[in-house]
Symmetry: D2
Subunit: 343 residues, 4 copies
Amino acid sequence: MAVNGYGVIGKRVADAVARQEDMELAGVSDINADWRSRMVTQKGFRLYSAASEHNDAMRDSGLDVTGALDDLLSVAEIVVDCTPKHVAARNVEIYREKGIKFIVQGGEKHAVTGHSFVAEASYESALDRDSTRVVSCNTTSIVRTLTALKPAGLLHRARGTLLRRATDPWESHLGGIMNTLVPEPEIPSHQGPDARSVDPELDVITMAVKVPETLAHLHYWAVQLTRPAEKEEVLEAFRSSSRIALIRMADGLTAINTVKELMADLGRPHDNLYEVALWSDMLKVEGDELFYGYMVDNQAIVIPETIDAIRALVGKVRDPKESIAKTNAALGIGAVTQALGGQ
Amino acid sequence: MAVNGYGVIGKRVADAVARQEDMELAGVSDINADWRSRMVTQKGFRLYSAASEHNDAMRDSGLDVTGALDDLLSVAEIVVDCTPKHVAARNVEIYREKGIKFIVQGGEKHAVTGHSFVAEASYESALDRDSTRVVSCNTTSIVRTLTALKPAGLLHRARGTLLRRATDPWESHLGGIMNTLVPEPEIPSHQGPDARSVDPELDVITMAVKVPETLAHLHYWAVQLTRPAEKEEVLEAFRSSSRIALIRMADGLTAINTVKELMADLGRPHDNLYEVALWSDMLKVEGDELFYGYMVDNQAIVIPETIDAIRALVGKVRDPKESIAKTNAALGIGAVTQALGGQ
Amino acid sequence: MAVNGYGVIGKRVADAVARQEDMELAGVSDINADWRSRMVTQKGFRLYSAASEHNDAMRDSGLDVTGALDDLLSVAEIVVDCTPKHVAARNVEIYREKGIKFIVQGGEKHAVTGHSFVAEASYESALDRDSTRVVSCNTTSIVRTLTALKPAGLLHRARGTLLRRATDPWESHLGGIMNTLVPEPEIPSHQGPDARSVDPELDVITMAVKVPETLAHLHYWAVQLTRPAEKEEVLEAFRSSSRIALIRMADGLTAINTVKELMADLGRPHDNLYEVALWSDMLKVEGDELFYGYMVDNQAIVIPETIDAIRALVGKVRDPKESIAKTNAALGIGAVTQALGGQ
Amino acid sequence: MAVNGYGVIGKRVADAVARQEDMELAGVSDINADWRSRMVTQKGFRLYSAASEHNDAMRDSGLDVTGALDDLLSVAEIVVDCTPKHVAARNVEIYREKGIKFIVQGGEKHAVTGHSFVAEASYESALDRDSTRVVSCNTTSIVRTLTALKPAGLLHRARGTLLRRATDPWESHLGGIMNTLVPEPEIPSHQGPDARSVDPELDVITMAVKVPETLAHLHYWAVQLTRPAEKEEVLEAFRSSSRIALIRMADGLTAINTVKELMADLGRPHDNLYEVALWSDMLKVEGDELFYGYMVDNQAIVIPETIDAIRALVGKVRDPKESIAKTNAALGIGAVTQALGGQ
């Protein structure tokens, strides 16, 4: 297993791969020569440069560089591409030439791999494929929650408002917004349509706005049900997904920073919230309409999906539930619900 | 005309009253002895204490105090109460005893006056009354926009997500939230039901969340229309209200801070945005559904309403349109649309 | 008088010029075709394009364009350049060719004009010159305060820590920093040395850090005096400058947002704080050391300086005090102290 | 070992005690019945109520309560008080009655215990005492850095400007400040004098201001040396403290959020930065003056000090260096410098 790009997603994928019993991390490739690349070897991972012409500069900075991306791709069966958008597109050609299986992130278009991945929805169709795309954080959360409503036959159509964190915490001195709100100029925003790349049946429209915080996205949904329902019926549907954690205002989890602190208290690396954290006591059913809000950790939610995507492409684990259970166990998913005493 | 309480709303009401040809400001009452009360006399208004026992302390601070609230109420025909919530409730008893007409703010319950006011919706039913309640900033915006859709027979039901500014700019060193989002624990939030205190026909459900900025609220709406419609038809309906300003992303008005700067450039006092600023190019009609977003200046939107409420209670101007036109002219409402070259 | 560039500084200079009895605004030149340029004609100023090739695009956007920069420079005696840094450097060549007097902003190097301007310190040496540079907001504040200490013979050397607002309010959706602090990598930061371009005698060292707010800079100073002094002596020295406003925590002016609100209450355009707002009750003298903090409105502090710089270059008003008094009267400088009842 | 109060400090002390080979955590006492107390047992620690009358309510919330504070104090040799200020004062009487050794936090006055603790400065005088006070985060950093300059005979006097984070990340929806800066009204601020409670020889004056971020404090210092010095000499002095980590802008550690991310990457619980993180390449010596800036993690810096304070009171480890080395090893202190390849 190789990770190309050691940024917000890459570092978390590398950590998560290292925690799986059935996976081995061949190495990590990056281009930086600063503190970030030092962390790769500090973690005990092999560091490769993005291209051999960078080797000298990186070694001059005192980095222990094993080789270049080419070398890394020669010793791995599959590569997870975690590079920035425009770089990933070029990398895909390299992966294809090399004949190595690959996973791209949600910033790429569906057409790049022809398959879009959310474990609970499209694991089986990814089995043995050469490549897939793990959809974006927002889209992952949409697919997780809305497909959970489908088995009970509850879902008619969903309309969501997405509050997007402006930038990531570690680089919030770049690209930040201050004391303002920045609406995405187009309605619908792209997240709704993108959910249909995983499940074409979904009737979803989203509006999105950038908000001045760095912790997580927050979604509000108004869902038209197929029929009047009880609140408990809806909660039961959400509980069917192991990657939706029901939380409660009444437990003191009243804001997104508090939920992040809970993750830190649970000892999760980087305070990762892998689950959709959905407030069960805030959720409301009015006749045949359903209203709720949830939190999406844009840095962490795709990590378990990526692990499952690796297993699906490799093809040894054929049952989605088996892969999901393995991933959950390795990452401690389920601990939130348990820690809160069940919801 | 008296203003009781010289805070965020009180200072703007006093300014606005002073700009009306047919109104006279008898004075302003407040309790503070710091820079805020100095501004009252600096503006050329008469300053009264909230109660005579404060007179000495205020005079010791160098303030030119004309008298106490009692004195002010004796020389005014009507009082606009702009004091904090719990104080207003007690004041109402004083106003009733004195037999002076009064207006309370949206923080008070409908039952306090038995009448809730938005100029375009309930001016006529307020005529000659002893009191009314100008509804809150959020509710004012909801009534303005949704009732604008009614004449064309478009409105079936509306579902909104409200991003609420956390605190006001001048006191944002108190009560702020930082790098987080704080959902209101209850769905529906109170703003939707409160709109029905003005127009009981409205079918509105709202969800609300506090966001870390101080400038304005931002609303996103998904409206079920009675029938499929054209975008232009909807825009025309919104244009029928002089207090909805259509703005465009394409004009560079891409965030709420930019819109506030436009208000400063227009020379408005305190950069007041009296209108609902609704993005016309972002607005989308999909079949029989309508989606849009708008900005609400919580410090300013109720000011023109309060001026009209005064006229309604006094009863000399019987036609809502006449009062609205007077208020608009005095406050420069209409200038946004004009400045932007029409929308 | 021409203003080239209608941004944060340009719009304030244009406003201020229009308020002077002895100046006339020939027009404003800009390149934008969005809402910002609409404000120029909305204000009643003549709008010119930055170059004639932009005329069509701007007119297509509905803007009333009088001509291009060339035309504007032909009808003005002096031009204030308020364009971004790299643009200004090129403009200077144009101004020189045209033989028009010009003023550049503090972003340019001293060498560009060979003269650096702060009214109270270098008006006389600017008289009749072809050009000058109004130094940056931070440097202006440093020169104002430190030179005020010189006549009493108090100043030995000054060490300052500068908290710099991260970006301007109107564009805080660009270039912001969020939930972090970003130190300037070099000590001393450039502001200290730059003060010596106005007054070479000053012994100043500064350290600077970007903070996540948009309102104003905040300076903390530790000054080594030439001798032990009384607090009142120091305050008296600061009072000698009409552009230092002494404010008090005890008046409720406890944070920079509160001081901005005071400016709004005073009815100043764009809530401009032209003065250095220095807390007199926070100021402390310990033996021969002086400690104090003050606030610098980076959008406004250079505006009165620019007006005086115009007068100095034109040369009709020979006495710095006369120009400063005219400017102060036109902009309402002095009102803060008066409004606060003297300090 | 008992911890009374499981908040920001208490949870970190409990974690750190559990990591020491020579300490055992008897239990944790708290009063909350929400998610925070659930974390105590989730971590495997015994949970006690603050008083027996709370037992039922906490058990009703599903918490596994072992007993009340009284019970906890009976089974521990020493208690670390991590309760809020006014509560701690009352607790001290209980500890004294019970005859249990105790440690209070820096919010309490020096007089409460008569001894103030920073490991590198006052371990020996704390040996075998009944109690001590671990000084506040800011004061700890001041003592660490200034006493490091003493052996080389460099320190004359130090003047600091302290940028204080406004509130803690987990509760930043309470007590936050937004888009403003709030100066502490008094100069000197209390941190300077408080350093003298540990080392009376220090000549320190501080000015402080609250800034709108939650991550860490940032200090800027101008130090008058006893003589001109070389930069390397100063760095060598700082390197003599194992709890000052020299970092570099040139390594990409350009802002406080980046440094926090480094802590997360190092796998530290809660991203704790136990060290003073001081920028070595930003540091400047000019003749006999020294200028530098550093970052203080207010949530974490006192944790190693508290561990050492426990050892000092217990008295088995007599050598400060031995205790400090044990604590450092258990908490991974030293890893920063190592990870960065030495500075």
